[in-house]
């Protein structure tokens, strides 16, 4: 159990041509479950591999507590790792796979036996100990890999997209199980994934990465409700956040977001933040679940709302939800997520209710959030 601190961590490939990780500062608290989230190629796996010691950094430092482990070899870091491909050794039985790390560290035999049985029990694979990995299903192999990772009682547990090779149902089950296990063991965990649902459900905090840079770090709800950039806003949430180009105008009843086919009067408190954007264009963002259609469903918790007019263009009925694609003005298509089954006719005119407390305004050039 240890705090992990990354200090301006860098990894360049091909003589600095490819900046896989481009200066990351991040502290993972003792016992915390941190999710590194980002699209493929964003540098999240490279970051994890540097923490593991499988990749040596081009620059920066890695601290475990007050120990500088930047150039330690993996075996001297007291870490465990669960690999994407499980990396369960095919020539060893499940028992030997789990016992192997302890055997290397020369633990006494009866202690190894006790610990292997404990770890196997935690992952409910006690009945599979004599089998070889080839005789196991993907989900079972995954459990072996996790059991092997926890048996050594590591200071830091690293997971590299451990659930991405499982089928959807199993993934949901394992998600909860891994999270519970981590809460029980209180081991500092760094979990890499590109799946925003995994990140939202598992992480104590989420660190969103893109193009080798760390964009935002925070608890899941904060990252979801207050994204600091267009990238974070659209990467988290499905269907993704609606983005519309609008301009900010000064009118008699205050500041107004004006775009093709929509006009939204903003509350006075936004004035200070938006002052320098008056008569300039900005990006207006609103999540599909933060809107509703008048007369169809209500957002009960909404305190302040504005209405815009639209035409129903297309309807996706998902059973639990309905996603309404509505045309607003010329060419602006926005998605609205409504609970339950909503019978709406394509082409019908609707009034779209926008939750004013959940709107986002981004700077057009920096793409950073203003509100």
């Amino acid at each position: 159990m240890v705090e992990v601190r990354l200090e301006n961590l860098k990894k360049y490939f091909g003589n600095g041509k490819v900046k896989a990780v481009d200066g990351i500062d991040l502290t993972i608290k003792d016992g915390e479950f941190l999710v590194l989230l980002g699209p493929s190629g964003c540098g999240k796996t490279t970051t994890l591999r540097m923490i593991a010691g499988l990749e040596s950094p081009t620059g920066g430092k890695i601290w475990f507590g007050d120990k500088d482990v930047t150039y330690f070899s993996p075996k001297d870091r007291n870490i465990s790792m669960v690999f994407q491909s499980y990396a369960v050794w095919p020539h060893m039985t499940v028992y030997d796979n789990i016992a192997f790390p302890l055997k290397i560290k020369k633990h006494p035999r009866d202690e190894i036996d006790k610990k292997v049985k404990w770890a196997a029990g935690m992952l409910q694979i006690g009945n599979l100990l004599d089998r070889y990995p080839a005789q196991l299903s993907g989900g079972q192999r995954q459990r072996v890999a996790v059991a092997r990772a926890i048996v050594v009682e590591p200071a830091v547990l690293l997971m590299d997209e451990p659930l991405s090779n499982l089928d959807a149902k199993l993934r949901v089950a394992m998600r909860a199980e891994i999270k519970k296990l981590q809460t029980k063991l209180k081991v500092t965990t760094i979990y890499v994934t590109h799946d925003q649902v995994e990140a939202m459900t598992m992480g104590d905090r989420i660190a969103v990465m893109n193009k080798g840079k760390l964009l935002q770090v925070g608890p899941p709800t904060e990252v979801y409700l207050k994204p600091n950039s267009i990238f974070v806003g659209t990467f988290i949430g499905a269907p993704e956040m609606n983005l519309l180009e609008v301009s900010i105008k000064e009118k008699e009843n205050g500041l107004v977001l004006e775009g093709t086919g929509l006009e939204i009067t903003l509350p006075e408190e936004f004035r200070e933040l938006l002052e320098r954007y008056i008569n300039k264009s900005v990006i207006f963002g609103i999540r599909p679940e933060h809107m509703t259609i008048e007369g169809v469903s209500t957002l009960e918790h909404v305190k302040r709302a504005r209405e815009i007019e639209g035409t129903v263009d297309f309807i996706e009925a998902l059973g639990t939800d309905t996603i309404v694609h509505a045309r607003v003005g010329e060419g602006n298509l926005i998605k609205i997520k409504l609970p339950g089954h909503i019978p709406l006719e394509i082409g019908s005119k609707v009034k779209i209710v926008v939750d004013l407390d959940n709107i986002h305004i981004f700077d057009k050039t920096t793409e950073n959030a203003v509100i």
Partner: protein, 277 residues
Amino acid sequence: MNEETKFILKKLVFYAFIFTVVAWIVIPIIISTLYGFALPKDYYDPKKILPTSFTIKYVKTLLITLGALDGIKNSIIVALITIAISFALGIPAGYAVAKFIFPGKDTIKLSIVALRMFPIPVMAIPLVILYIRLHLIDTLLGVALAHTAMSLPFVVLITSSIFAGVSKELEEAAMVFGLTRLGSFFKITLPLALPGLAAAAMFTFVMSWNEVFVASILTLAHRTLPAQILSIMAGASGGAAPDYYKFAAAFIMILPAITFIFFARKYLVTMWGITLK
């Protein structure tokens, strides 16, 4: 012609083809074995295609009186030395080619193969002169070194494809869980590669066992089996040998190859890196 007759005809052609290919290989083996043990009167009887009375006399003469047994012993020694040296050099090279990215990797891979394009008869005289100077002429080590030069390219290519089949993450997992890179090679990669490496060893063995040209020019007293057989058959002992001796010799040569294929057939596919799961 309806679909069914078409189907049957297709099957027929397919099996006829298979039969031809198998017969092409199997019939000479059967004939060599039968005639190798046949009595001369059966062999020369124009009414008989297959001999009916057998003797081990000629195989025995070849093995004991004419020195084929010594040849077998020499061949085994040469083959084992060849395997030892080509594996000692080839495994690290194969591993490097499979697992690391370094400048000039493709050039090295290509030149390894290109080495084998060089016809050995062209090198015959320089090789003999070099061997005389190095006092390697007519020694088993000398032949083994020459065989190593011939088999090493294959050992490098075969082992590299075997190692490429062992996933990087398996080794990395071992490193994370407490082994050094070298340790993870010996504890994880090598055991996983073992079946493939065994096949590569057998391949090298057979290559060395069958090689006759280099063995013939580099040795005189200490000949390997093929060189020994060649000198017997070509008439080093005064005139070409009778046919049934040739068949007996063929039988002695074929036996290890068949044994090899029998045990190695399972691994032969692996050897070329097609699968390692």
